[in-house]
Subunit: 703 residues, 2 copies
């Protein structure tokens, strides 16, 4: 093959770079882009052919030295990347410019759907959670659930009332982290934040698993029990239908949030209101049937053996289990700025409506379930109630669809709150700054991925069981309630505005009730799984503090102190390690000459003949450069080079050593196996040297 | 924390690098090492503390600009590395200097052990391989083995005779690759090389598996059958005791060869001569017993059902199976230079002795086995014979140990030849140059690792069964014989020295017999596994050619053409991308100023406030540098930078762009997760640009 097509072709112009001739002085390059002047800068035959269009398409000039990168700057270069981009576009949508962000305000109807679905949807599983505890005491004990439900509903109204205060006091968003940090200090704020993050993950896991359970209940009610069993038998041991469905839903919501659906309230309004309406109809129908004496379970509840006598412990445990109904109550206080004006007033009203609906639904379901003496089984309690009211008719299926819908939407609340709280924590340097990163659709993608991933792992680990997951749930909820309400107490105490005593009392009662409930929940659920959360909260809090310390130290080390500026220029020695003198090493030497007048060509010798040849070539082609030979009897390359640089530093402690190395870039990736990894090894060897930089001068192998 | 301990501490001297003061001109640095002048170059408190001793310990000056790196240059820097080095030293031994290589010559006694163990050890399994084929035709057919053995022994003597010719004609090493390439052309040479490499791998696998089988036979003879069964039941399904033992032996030999035991003939002499002596004693004892009529199998051979009538096909297959006895015959022709003078004569004598021993042993074992009508089973045939001769007495166990020993040593022959042939192929640019690399002990470590690894995989894939592996074996052996002998025929024809006709006839007969055997082996074993080798040989040969083409192209592209030298200096633009102006970015700017007068500071803007702050700081701290702002509406960083560099290239097609970027090096690796990977992403984005270099100016975070 003739050399004329190789990069080392005749005439400097076809070389990857060149000046007018060997040894000619370097030309000045204008770094500013002379838009519209240049048409086609690259001639055919040049190595570098990507840029065929004038760059005025790519950069719009907006001022001297100021350009805007147009979407044309964002064209993928490889077919791999093109495919990836296309897939991403289909799944997530076209990338949005920062300026395209919309701050949509939600009216009360939509905001109830966006912020209330989490709380309201709890009514779909809270009764069942309490019943499962009481099963141990036999059928007769199940009725207790109605009374624990009343206690929880009372609690709920007090907590909701206390959050109304927060909504007015913090119109810019009164999340537990904010309120606790501002009033109680950083540490309580971070504890609240850890509790909240754990809670959001559990909200996703529990809601999604409960939503999938609703689907499976509907399938069971339609007589698909055998098919489900056969399907599950065919799955790997760690999966079941509920896990598979849940993972599908989590994937769907993750994707939806990456698309940035978070504030499009309409999507959420449909299932939320469908659930509100159909549950209301169901409850009214059920109450009517109950009072006319025609309410009967479709399959008579099984007779339960009495394993444990009904005692205070069991009742407390049932109360703890049912208390998950209250999760999500704080969501509105986080989102006040998203409401239409007057924000606080609208938010407070929505909060009241939400709490009322939740309380009524929870009590209603508990009443009907205990009235019929229903026993939790593979079919959910709420499905059993609906079946008893509607029969296996269209309304029943609509109700099941609505239940699944609102539970999935409830998970979405966490997908709004988790990334937002993470980004706030990242902004405050308590979480990695990656959580501030906004993806193609302006969503905080890191937080969304993290939440989806952790929730998915949790669903798999807990085998898609609401019952197991729910034990972890309430600790975080009530810890956040406690800290937030205590913060509000301090707030009122410090502020002493009009009626501060009343407000203080309300939040004080809220805080006291929360802390009592927290204690009950922590104790009764400890062994069942709450210990995991109790262990995790201090760990996560410590991680927050660790991250904060790191970022503070970095900021301190990077801060410019005007009296301690770095020198304008540095004392530099350029080292060009060569094995052989060839076209690539001559290019590296040219680069070295360009950047410094202090250049040394270093030859690590493992073979005398090779060294003599290299010396001879140096005399012929680069007689101006000093050459140093270091014999390496152990045939090592990197270590003698390290030792040489060390020795230079021992002579000149302030010297900065720049190592210039030609790097072969093969035409195809698999060809790189035919070359040793010297460049990469050198780079990693010098990575931790504060005054050594490694420059790889690329040498593209054409073929 | 006060800033005084941070790198940005008062006084330039404690900075990672500095000059006498901001803006002072850079100082000249002497790259030569002024040995013995400097005592302690680094003051306490300096960031850079590794080099505390004068470097005269580390480099010995041998001339102007010429140093020798002493072992002190090779001190590990981290505790990880210290541990790794220690482990390596324990396993492989202290590193050897290149000058320490010894070229030991072997006397005939040792060379028979080094080069002959492969061939001689075949007698331990060849008879069995043939018997297994004949089992299908019932007990009566087993006697045929003796006659096929005679045929093979005749073949062996002819091939050995023909190789004696090669030994005289190629005193510098007449491996099949050399002989074929020189006389028949590159392609036949490469085909021979592929066949040989495959053969070496199979030699290791077959010998080691047979050696392990000898250990297990001894255990079975001692009554450990139950224990072995229990042990195997406890192993994962893909393992059995034979596989585990084989992997252990392969690991041992690999390690031994990395230590560089290859020429220490004494180690090999012991098991080889122990085998020769004990097998001779056993055969003599067996013959005596046979003729006195006292030779009886310990357990009477089972009665075999006749599955297939005895026909020509079965006999040919038995012949093919037994032909593996001839593997290793060519080893001496490879190793002529290792013999004492006169090399060729000594090698030829050794070859004759080896072939005679092998032939006698093979015939003797076949005779005794057929005489007793032994049937192959879990216990090897040779073990059954020895048991019949010696009984379960000490001589039997010595014999089993010797068998295992020589089989393991036989595998070692391949560990000598495979790396040597690979290094020759790498030197000739047919294999990756990594195979030329010599490890700490001067052994070709890449080849040793490759051979050990592939052989281990093969043993696992074939479940440690000699019977399955052996089907792959003979094709490569006879292909190499054929090519080598054909090459010799051409050699004599061209050379026409004295008695060339005789030599030509001998090699011609050898070639003819080899090609006939090759055809028989390929056809009879095709479906049993030989097809794998028949498919692999052209694939490997193509890979050789592909590698050769690549290296030739690279060499062509790197060759210096004196009339087409690269320019002495290049047209360079230095781009410093900054996000914020801080101490680290000011250092990067200082670096950029030092290496060029054409510096542009590029700020990719995603946030207007941030940009304004950066502009302001630039005015304050680096007013001499041109700043360009590129707005990135899609919040991308790398792509607009790529596009900017493209645009610069479209204006100045010959410009070389150097991107200078500060890189944070965190104090602990896990802290790096708290920083984004901009530097790494940038490096990979620009990797394939021929005229862009990315310089990462390290900024070490102290804490």
């Amino acid at each position: 093959m003739k050399k004329s097509n190789a990069p080392g072709a005749p005439g400097g112009d076809e070389k990857p770079y060149s000046s007018d001739g060997a040894g000619a002085p370097a030309r000045k390059i204008n770094p500013d882009l002379t838009i519209a002047e240049i048409k086609h800068g690259v001639r055919p035959g040049d190595v570098y052919v990507r840029m065929r269009q004038p760059h005025s398409h790519i950069f719009r000039k907006v001022g001297p030295g100021h350009f805007v990168a147009t979407p044309a700057s964002d064209v993928p270069t490889s077919s791999w990347e093109r495919g990836y981009r296309l897939l991403k576009k289909i799944l997530v949508g076209r990338p949005l410019e920062t300026a395209e962000e919309i701050h949509q305000r939600l009216n009360k109807v939509k905001s109830l759907a966006v912020f209330g679905s989490d709380a309201i949807s709890s009514s779909a599983y809270a009764t069942e959670a309490a019943l499962i505890v009481l099963v141990a005491a036999g059928n007769g004990a199940l009725g207790i659930v109605f009374y624990t439900s009343i206690a929880i509903a009372v609690m709920l109204s007090i907590i909701a009332f206390s959050y109304r205060q927060t909504v007015y006091a913090y119109p810019h968003g009164g999340g537990s982290y904010n309120v606790s940090r501002e009033n109680l200090g950083t540490l309580p704020g971070l504890i609240a934040a850890s509790a909240l993050l754990i809670d959001y993950v559990l909200t996703v896991a529990v809601s999604i698993v409960a939503g999938s359970a609703a689907v499976i209940s509907a399938l069971l009610a339609s007589g698909y029990a055998e098919q489900i069993e056969a399907l599950e038998a065919a799955m790997p041991a760690f999966l079941n239908l509920n896990v598979v469905l849940s993972l599908f839903f989590i994937g769907l919501i993750t994707l939806g949030n990456l698309r940035g659906i978070r504030e499009s309230g309409t999507i959420f309004a449909i299932p939320t209101y469908l659930f509100i309406v159909s549950l209301s109809v169901m409850l009214l129908g059920g109450l009517f049937k109950a009072f006319t004496g025609t309410l009967h379970p479709v399959t008579p509840p099984p007779l339960l053996p009495i394993v444990e006598p009904l005692g205070a412990w069991l009742i407390l445990r049932a109360f703890s289990a049912g208390a998950v109904a209250m999760s999500g109550t704080e969501a509105i206080s986080n989102g006040v700025p998203a409401f239409q004006k007057p924000e606080s007033h609208n938010a407070a009203t929505t909060l009241t409506v939400m709490a009322t609906l939740l309380g009524a639904f929870f009590l209603g379901v508990s009443f009907l379930a205990t009235r019929m003496g229903l026993v939790p089984g593979q079919e959910t309690i709420i499905s059993q109630v609906a079946l008893a009211v509607f029969g296996a008719s269209l309304p029943y299926y609509i109700f099941q669809i609505a239940t699944t819908g609102i539970l999935v939407i409830a998970a979405n609340t966490a997908f709004v709150d988790f990334p937002r709280l993470s980004s706030v924590l990242a902004r405050d340097n308590f979480m990695p700054h990656q959580f501030l990163f906004r993806g193609d659709r302006l969503a905080f993608s890191t937080g969304i991925f993290a939440l989806g991933g952790i929730a998915a792992l949790l669903v798999i680990a807990f085998e898609g069981s609401v019952d197991s997951l729910i034990h972890l749930y309430a600790v975080g909820v009530f810890l956040a309630f406690t800290l937030s309400n205590s913060g509000m107490v301090v707030h009122w105490w410090k502020l002493r505005g009009p009626n501060w005593q009343t407000s203080l009392v309300i939040n004080g009662v809220g805080a006291s009730l929360s802390v009592i409930t927290l204690a009950i929940v922590a104790v009764t659920k400890f062994a069942l799984g709450a210990w995991i959360v109790i262990v995790l909260i201090p760990i996560i809090t410590s991680l927050f503090l660790f991250v904060h310390t790191h970022y503070s130290r970095v900021a301190e080390q990077l801060r410019i102190v005007p009296t301690q500026l770095p020198p304008k220029k540095i004392d530099q020695l350029v080292v060009v390690p060569i094995d052989d003198v060839n076209y690539a090493s001559l290019r590296a030497m040219a680069f070295a000459r360009t950047i410094s007048s202090d250049v040394v060509v270093l030859h690590i010798s493992t073979n005398v003949e090779r060294t003599e040849k290299a010396k001879e070539k140096m005399r012929a082609y680069a007689p101006d450069l000093k050459m140093i030979v270091v014999d390496s009897p152990l045939r090592a390359f990197v270590r003698p080079l390290l030792a040489y640089v060390d020795a230079v530093h021992s002579q000149h402690p302030n010297a900065f050593v720049t190592i210039v190395l030609p790097e072969f870039i093969t035409a195809h990736w698999w060809e790189s196996f035919l070359h040793n990894r010297t460049a990469a090894r050198l780079r990693s060897a010098f990575e931790r040297h504060p005054n050594v930089a490694v420059v790889l001068v690329p040498y593209l192998l054409e073929r």
